[in-house]
């Protein structure tokens, strides 16, 4: 029987069957499940969470050089971090098959930008495959390793959210061990030492390889031509194929499974077979630009298909039908309904921390993680989010530009996993270049936003083995932050946190503030609730004046109840608040915010 599998799980399965020995990754939506699935299900594969995507690619490349089949997986923005390695690995080539999975996020479901990773293939001059469902995730992964070894090149596998996170049926097989012997050959410097004299011949080898890959693209079954109509045809790939096939099954299709290099002969045949050719692709006009440059007359492409957000069956249908498309009847306007944005969890330590930063009047250079949610009103205490580790560097730059004006007014805040990924160097830079930034590292004790993956600060490997745990204080000392400027705060104590943050912001030297004893609320292992004195708090109606101060912390457990009333000492109120006992965990943040001592311990 076929199994139902998520696209990511199908990639893990394909890698295992292909004989992969080493897999490395840094978590990122929608790619995170690949490495986790490998670690949970395939003991033959060494699996690790690397500190960032660059290291993950380096690890996989080293394994490949030693003759093993290896892979690294990441989200689209992770490839930006790993790009330096990829661009030169494209020259050296590999030994054992090397696959890099890049998961794009059209429509930015959970990302800081929208990138079309097909551009990496053209830029780095390496082949790229793009599956359209879980079965293809599995098949293309296996094919990627064969192509990699046959053509001596890293191979990219691109997915998008709707492929990575969609489940469909997969017919699986058995693992086949790679026949390549393991070992390192010291006599191959001309291939693996990329100094200019050795680069130039490799540069030529890259072009020769691309020509061979072009010929392969025309022959491989990964690219499929379906001639149904002689009038209308579609050149497409991956998810876009699925949407187009859904709404126009009667059209002809050239479905590109290998999206780079392009199969020139197949494209030529398709244009000869079909009169009017649409090019339907998600995000950039990648095929379209190339195909138009080859001299073909494209019937329609990005003139009607959006070049941003994700496609869907109705977007493709509406684009092609134009005025004849009938949109379904609107019964209720969704924009009139209250939205349900994600929020920091009840009890999350980031809530009091960002509340304290707001009260301290800080401009907060943020980073990538759950804490970006602090941008939402009424907390509204996060002012930039660019990329992993950006906050520290930007805070330093702003302070150098503004001089003493900035002193006491800015902080950089980032999670522990983000700090280890990209936050150490900006801090070292501030300490070295006589900066005065204050960097606050949150105590998640896990990679939070992406769904709880281990990192070098958690003390566990991906398979749960006990491992070294980074000492953040020692890192700070070693990279030049003075001991007196390395402070601990308990974020649940708002007043004390505010005071320490203010002190450090006002120092004309680099500071490092470490949050203590405040792990992710959802991380059961760390027992985050144990520190709370009472498991639940409730409103004392005799005291509540309905001032709404406690609503300022945006706790999901606290809501406003309209209704006139008064306190026991006769103060009139228009309403009061309610603490939902199913959600309150007793973090006491609202207790500290209430000016009338109206929030008291209660029993669950």
């Amino acid at each position: 029987m076929k199994e139902i599998m998520q696209g990511n799980a199908a990639i893990a399965r394909g890698a295992w069957e292909a004989g992969v020995k080493v897999a490395a990754a840094y978590p990122g939506t929608p790619s995170s499940e690949i490495l986790k699935d490998v670690a949970d299900n395939y003991p033959e594969i060494y699996a690790e969470w690397s500190p960032n995507e660059m290291v993950a690619v380096q690890v996989a490349a080293g394994a490949a050089l030693a003759g093993a089949r290896a892979m690294a997986s990441m989200k689209h923005v992770g490839m930006n971090v790993a790009a330096d390695a990829l661009m030169t690995l494209a020259y050296t080539g590999i030994k054992g098959g090397l696959m890099i999975v890049i998961a794009d996020d059209p429509n930015v479901h959970s990302s800081q930008n929208e990138q079309d990773s097909r551009n990496w293939a053209r830029f780095a001059k390496v082949p790229m495959l793009e599956p359209g469902d879980a079965q293809e995730c599995y098949e293309f992964t296996k094919a990627a390793f064969d192509i990699s070894e046959k053509f001596d090149t890293p191979v990219l596998l691109r997915t998008v959210t709707r492929i990575a996170h969609a489940d469909s049926l997969v017919q699986t097989g058995k693992r086949v061990e790679s026949k390549m012997p393991l070992g390192l050959d010291p006599k191959e410097a001309t291939k693996y030492v990329m100094v200019p004299a050795f680069v130039r011949p490799r540069r030529k080898a890259v072009e020769e390889r691309m020509r061979k890959l072009e010929a392969f693209a025309d022959k491989t079954k990964i690219n499929k031509m379906e001639i149904n109509s002689k009038t209308y045809g579609v050149i497409t790939s991956g998810s876009a194929y699925m949407y187009a096939k859904e709404v126009f099954p009667e059209y002809s299709f050239l479905k590109l499974g290998m999206v780079w290099p392009l199969p020139k002969k197949m494209i030529d045949t398709f244009f000869k077979e079909v009169k009017k050719v649409y090019i339907i692709e998600e995000l950039d006009p990648f095929f379209e630009t190339e195909i138009r440059a080859m001299g073909y007359k494209v019937f329609h492409g990005k003139d009607i298909i959006p070049n941003m957000y994700e496609l869907s069956p109705e977007i493709v249908e509406a684009a092609i039908k134009g005025k004849t498309y009938k949109a379904p009847k609107v019964r209720v306007k969704p924009e009139d309904l209250p939205r349900r944005p994600p929020n920091l969890c009840a009890g999350c330590s980031h809530r009091p921390l960002f509340y304290a930063l707001k009260k301290a009047g800080a401009f907060v250079f943020g980073d990538i993680g759950c804490y970006t949610l602090a941008v939402a009103p009424p907390i509204s205490a996060l002012h930039t989010t660019i990329c992993m580790g950006a906050g520290g560097g930007m805070a330093h730059g702003a302070s150098k530009a503004m001089g003493k004006e900035a002193l006491g007014k800015t902080v950089a805040v980032l999670g522990d996993s983000t700090f280890l990924h990209s936050g150490i160097l900006p801090l070292m830079n501030a300490a070295y270049n006589k900066g005065n930034t204050t960097t606050i590292v949150l105590d998640n004790r896990i990679t939070g936003m992406t769904g709880h993956q281990e990192h070098a600060g958690t003390g566990f490997t991906v398979r749960g083995e006990v491992a070294n745990q980074v000492d953040y204080r020692e890192i700070g000392k070693a990279i030049g932050v003075k001991e007196a400027n390395i402070r601990y705060v308990d974020p649940y104590n708002i007043k004390e946190t505010m005071e320490i943050v203010k002190e450090e912001m006002n120092k004309d030297e680099a500071s490092l503030i470490l949050c203590k004893d405040s792990p992710c609320m959802l991380l059961r292992r760390a027992k985050p609730l144990e520190r709370f004195k009472s498991p639940l708090y409730a409103i004392n109606m005799d005291k509540c004046r309905g001032c709404k101060m406690c609503l300022e912390i945006n706790c999901p457990a606290i809501s406003w109840k309209e209704g006139a009333g008064q306190t026991v000492d006769g103060q009139k109120r228009k309403g009061t608040v309610y603490i939902n006992p199913d959600q309150c965990v007793g973090c006491e943040v609202c207790v500290q915010v209430c000016k009338f001592d109206a929030i008291e311990p209660a029993k669950k």
Binding site: I4, D133, K245, E246, P328, L337, P338, N343
Partner: protein
């Protein structure tokens, strides 16, 4: 594989933590057992943080798109009133709907800035008449002694729309996807849900 059956579209909507994803996983196992091609797509990542959760679930002889075309939903299974209303435009005029009566306040309502929509089942009935079914999933789960079983109660109610699918497929799926100590409770939850319609 079942031959020449056109694709049927099921849309599940709810709030993170309600168990909508497990419910869609159960449906996956059920329709595979019934011999169909199945595709389902969900967006998660931030759902644990109280955001809305939706799953597009499709079955038929051969399914292409993992997501349903807007306006083409045959069955809406909603875990929460507001999250039902948010997707009312997605349902076909002759679509069938199960609405769970649970209300989970979104931030704008908690902060007193917006009203929680009233009369959600009535709004649905205006358009879909007798095809709207309201279930108190939480109440039924509570009577079984475990609020967490609400999702399986709703799957039970939903199973009434598919009289040709064997009940044993649902029970097998529940047993496959849940830990053995939860089997009894959830099989009871399924049966209680089935009777609720």
């Amino acid at each position: 594989m079942k031959k020449n059956e056109k694709t049927t579209n099921i849309f599940l909507s709810g709030v993170g933590g309600q168990g909508a994803i497990l419910a869609s996983n159960i449906l996956g196992e059920v329709f595979i057992r019934a011999g169909y091609d199945v595709k389902k797509a969900e967006v998660h990542g931030m759902a644990q943080r109280g955001g809305d959760v939706t799953t597009h679930f499709r079955y038929g002889t051969k399914v292409y798109s993992p997501i349903i075309k807007y306006g083409d939903v045959d069955f809406l299974l909603s875990f929460e009133l507001l999250e039902a209303l948010r997707y009312i435009n997605w349902v076909k005029p002759d679509g069938k709907i199960i609405i769970n009566t649970q209300e989970i306040l979104p931030p704008a309502v908690s902060l007193g800035q917006m009203e929680y929509p009233q009369g959600v089942p009535e709004t649905f009935k205006k358009y879909f008449k007798d095809n709207v079914h309201v279930v108190d999933g939480l109440g039924i789960a509570k009577s079984l002694g475990n609020l967490q079983a609400q999702n399986v109660v709703l799957v039970g109610a939903f199973s009434n729309f598919f009289p040709k699918i064997k009940e044993s497929f649902f029970v097998d799926a529940i047993k496959k996807l849940l830990a053995p100590k939860l089997h009894d409770l959830n099989v009871k939850a399924f049966e209680a849900g089935k009777k609720a319609l």
